[in-house]
């Protein structure tokens, strides 16, 4: 069973898909954004040639590869090379039957399973063994997964997305605040880790359905950590080590482009307090943004995405409020830096007793 699909490793496969898909979203998204920016009030202003039009077209064609790319690399992670091509094809199918991000994820896993089944159960005579990877697997995986996508998977996913969509649209503004807040908090909770990526997957699925207010929440929330921590540092300089102030100098510019990983070293020294402060700020900002229903046309980019919000001003207000909340909370709850903190280098953990060692999960391959 485990060589067909290993449930424990499923997370790793999906993360692999996402890690290949991020550069695509960033590359295509920014190219599209710049083209869109050159159009002014309406895309139609671009006409059908010229630098703005070409950039916009390049980017938007690239964005159509989003789901295929995700699907292909999930399949690749499960079934390695022979799964990649069928993965792209099934991803393109998922894109075209409007099952979007979730369809891509399910499709990728499906292809992976079919490829692994083929590898295990199909045995060819020695002379034509090489045909297996070249012909048999790509063909069978594509055909079987394609049939299943249309016949079995399409219906439930579209139904599910429709249910989700109508549920989200029916939310009252109070529940909207909580919904936006939770999304925002998830986006900041683990600094680009699995919880953040789960929120990303959810938000991207909504984006593919044309619901784009969740995206705004995510963009703003991801920027709150570096800005909020920087504000806290300005308010309470004696609560940050010299090394941390240096770290912030890089983390803030990275934050402008929605890369929150820059603050990890600061969070690592004082995890509970930093995460708590960030979650507070992003909860408020996310809730506020969701209540206002501010939508984002772009998937990524930090400040570059702001001009493409329904209301850039509301976006800035949410970001400012959220960062201020994080900054103030953190400045209040953070402890003063002692001499020891300054000296302490990279935290390496400590030696453990035998029982504690058992708690460290490793996998021997």
């Amino acid at each position: 069973m485990n060589d067909i699909i290993n449930i424990k490793e499923l997370k790793q496969h999906i993360l692999t898909g996402i890690s290949y898909f991020i550069p695509l979203v960033v590359g295509a998204g920014l190219t599209m954004a710049i083209g869109r920016a050159m159009a002014g009030s309406s895309v139609a202003n671009l006409g059908d040639s010229g630098i703005g039009y070409w950039l916009y077209q390049t980017g938007s064609l690239g964005m159509q590869l989003m789901v295929p790319m995700l699907c292909a690399y999930i399949a690749f992670s499960m079934g390695s090379k022979p799964a990649l091509a069928p993965g792209f094809i099934i991803g393109w199918v998922a894109q075209n039957i409007n099952t979007g991000f979730i369809g891509g994820m399910v499709g990728g896993i499906l292809v992976g399973i079919v490829v692994n089944l083929c590898k295990k159960y199909i045995h060819l005579p020695k002379v034509i063994e090489s045909l297996k990877g070249m012909l048999v697997i790509p063909f069978l995986a594509t055909a079987i997964s394609g049939l299943l996508m249309y016949a079995v998977i399409q219906g439930p996913i579209i139904w599910l997305m429709a249910q989700l969509t109508s549920f989200l649209q029916s939310l009252s503004s109070g529940s909207k605040f909580i919904y936006g807040g939770v999304l925002g908090a998830m986006a900041t909770f683990d600094f680009g880790g699995p919880v953040n990526k789960t929120a990303t997957a959810f938000v991207n699925a909504l984006y593919a359905e044309g619901i784009r207010d969740a995206k705004t929440v995510q963009i703003i929330a991801s920027m709150i950590q570096p800005f909020g921590i920087a504000i806290a540092c300005l308010l309470a300089r004696n609560k940050f080590t010299r090394a941390e102030k240096e770290t912030l100098k890089a983390a803030v510019p990275m934050g402008c482009f929605m890369i929150s990983e820059g603050v990890i070293p600061i969070a690592a020294r004082d995890l509970a307090r930093v995460v708590f402060a960030c979650v507070c700020g992003s909860f408020v900002a996310g809730g506020l943004s969701m209540v206002w229903g501010n939508s984002s046309e772009l998937l990524n980019g930090g400040f570059i995405a702001f001009p493409f919000f329904t209301s850039p001003m509301q976006g800035l207000i949410c970001l400012a409020v959220g960062s201020a909340v994080t900054g103030i909370v953190l400045a209040v709850i953070k402890k003063k830096v002692t001499e020891e903190d300054e000296k302490q280098e990279v935290e390496l953990g400590k030696e453990l007793s035998d029982e504690d060692l058992d708690n460290i999960e490793i996998e021997i391959m």
Partner: protein, 103 residues
Amino acid sequence: MKIVAVAACTTGIAHTYIAKEKLIKSAELRGHTISCETQGSIGIEDELDPKDIQDADVVILAIDVAIDKMDRFTGKKVIKVDTSTVVKNPIGLIQKVEKVIQK
């Protein structure tokens, strides 16, 4: 012990490199030799020397995603963990690896 390691996280910007630094520091602190490759957003950096891999007693993979060139480790003792395990307690991890390898 001779260790070779690969670090790779989802985004390939931060955890990958933090894991690398911590692995190297804690392995050296406990008296092992280690070389560590990263597979971040930029691709493979500090690629492992095939000779080091051949000589290594153990391969530690601190990875959240599938990595390139896995076939290099065929026939080696390979231990796989999440990058978060390394970030949290690298010393503990190295201790555990020692214990597992000695068995």
